[in-house]
Amino acid sequence: MTLLIRRSNLLVPATDAAALHEAWRSNADAITLDLEDGVAPARKAEARALVRPALAQAKPGRTEVFVRVNKPLLHADLAASVWGGLHGIMLAQAESAQDVLQADAALGELERERGISIGSIQIIVLIESPRAVWDIRSIISASARVTQAGLDESDLAASMRINPLPEYDPFIYARGRLVVEATAAGVLPVGMAYPLGLQASLMPAEELNRMANNARNSGMKGVVCPHASWVEPVNRAFTPTDELVAYNRRVRELFAAGVAAGTAAVPLDGRMIDVPVDEWAKVVIATAEACAVRDEEKRRAMGA
């Protein structure tokens, strides 16, 4: 099984040339050109026209490119976006399986029309209402194109008409449901730890890194970043450190030795190394290897 490594997905308004320039220079695993909330209503048409030229700027292998589309403007946005170089779309306001199916069908048609490999364009769904949180299973499993799912926490708060306080996370249930249902369906849950996922801030990299680690330890597999400064601390949080990899290699060795000697429970610093711990070590090592492959691919693309 190959692991999909998409640690950071940098969201940039399609109309913001400076931010886009910065985004290409960042080390983001993916960039999402925003046609939705990041673009003022009057500039939607202008934004759409900027997508194709932007796609042409992307270096293959360096970052994946996505476009966040408006649900009410789905067909126009998709028609402007589905060109060579596009990896997928981010579907905001996914309310029901129907919404996903509609996008799926429209993508299929455009793929056929434009000679793009059928079924190759992915979908990242964003959940923004209590209705969608409740129905999340049918939304996530509506199409094989769905590879990631996340909450848009500020829009979710708005649709619930609440004003959350930073100390009291209102999305413990919603986020837990996202993580469980996505993982069960083989889709990667993405999101930042509370309250940063709700209210994006620019803060020192170490703090961002700590928050991204909390996100990972809540089950998330990546973060949609609202600003280029998030990319590095996020990538770091979702890449197992060398020490961690070394420790887990030691765990695997000790455990293998224990098994050879007839026991499946080996003590290490007061902890018990058994099958689940060994399984976890496998996950850490496999993730580290997949990250290394992705990073190498990005380096080569930069050099090219």
């Binding site: 409740w134 004003n163 209102p170 249930y173 801030s201």
Partner: protein
């Protein structure tokens, strides 16, 4: 769009005229005439007898009258409670869609028989048991009368005790689950984020205020309480503070300026505001406006 506020719901035993007199003097938005939690078994017949007078007293005091009825004794409790002036019923310990449908039918029948406008008596479903919570979505969609959902006294009825952190066991999960369901079906979630030592909707005025603030931050829009001295705490906790109002006003002004300039993301200091945050600020101002006392009518 209805503007009536229902921030504080004071439970008062229907068996006690003295407690009712105190309740209507309070600032409660809703008086809940209770036939379930605070009425001992042998006082039930007398309490039911009091109901029609009690509903009139509450109405006359300018409050909304609700009756808290037992899901297991629907027929008797509803017959005792549905009189002109009754705004709704809280169905305590609701567990099955059959109960909600039965309540709906009995209400329809009584509305016709007793001269109430058809379909006007609302239902608040109190999910106070595990089964009730498990079925909350089905209960909420079992009748068009369902207006609100609450955990009521689930902490006592489900025997959920405090964890060492002072959180009530399972409560964060149950509260947010119920709020999600309410949002999904368009019902109003009622409750507050109580913590130990608060129990069974009972707390000091200060703890009540904190519980209401926390509750509002996660989606509750009003809460039930037991004592008159909790009422103003609930009203205050479910009303945006002047500071919040001020911050929201400033944010919206800045956001609108940014939008007019063609930017949809506003950066202030180190914080980024998007359309979602702006929508939240707008709903806070709407709520704040609704909580303002109406301007005095000139005569």
């Amino acid at each position: 769009m209805e503007h009536r506020l229902r921030r504080s719901w004071l439970l008062t035993p229907a068996s006690s005229p003295e407690k009712l007199a105190a309740a209507i003097k309070s600032a409660a938005d809703v008086a809940v005439l209770d036939l379930v939690e605070f009425v001992v078994e042998r006082c039930k017949p007398a309490a039911r007898e009091h109901m029609s007078a009690a509903v009139r007293v509450v109405e006359a005091a300018g409050k909304e009258a609700y009756a808290q009825v037992d899901a297991q004794l629907l027929y008797a409790d509803l017959h005792a409670s549905v009189w002109p002036g009754l705004a709704g019923v809280v169905i305590s310990r609701a567990e099955t869609t059959e109960q909600i449908k039965e309540a709906d039918q009995v209400l329809t029948h009584l509305e016709a028989e007793r001269g109430l406008l058809p379909g006007t008596v609302r239902i608040v479903v109190a999910c106070e048991t595990a089964r009730g919570n498990h079925a909350a979505y089905e209960l909420a969609t079992a009748s068009r009368r369902v207006w609100g959902l609450t955990l009521g006294r689930a902490d006592l009825i489900m025997d959920l005790r405090p964890e060492p952190s002072t959180e009530i066991h399972m409560m964060q999960y149950l509260m947010q689950r119920l709020i999600t369901i309410a949002g999904a079906v368009g019902a109003t979630p009622l409750g507050a984020w109580w913590r130990a030592p608060d129990r069974g909707l009972l707390a000091t005025p200060d703890n009540t205020l904190q519980a209401a603030r926390r509750g509002r931050a996660i989606g509750f829009r009003g809460a039930l309480c037991v004592r008159e001295d909790q009422v103003s705490s609930l009203n205050q906790g479910f009303t945006p503070s002047p500071d919040e109002e001020h911050a929201a006003t400033r944010l919206l002004a800045a956001y609108d300026t940014a939008t007019i300039a063609g930017n949809a993301v506003l950066r202030q200091d180190d914080r980024l505001f998007d359309r979602g945050t702006a929508r939240c600020a707008r709903s806070l101002l709407d709520l704040a406006a609704a909580c303002k006392p109406p301007l005095a009518m000139s005569s």
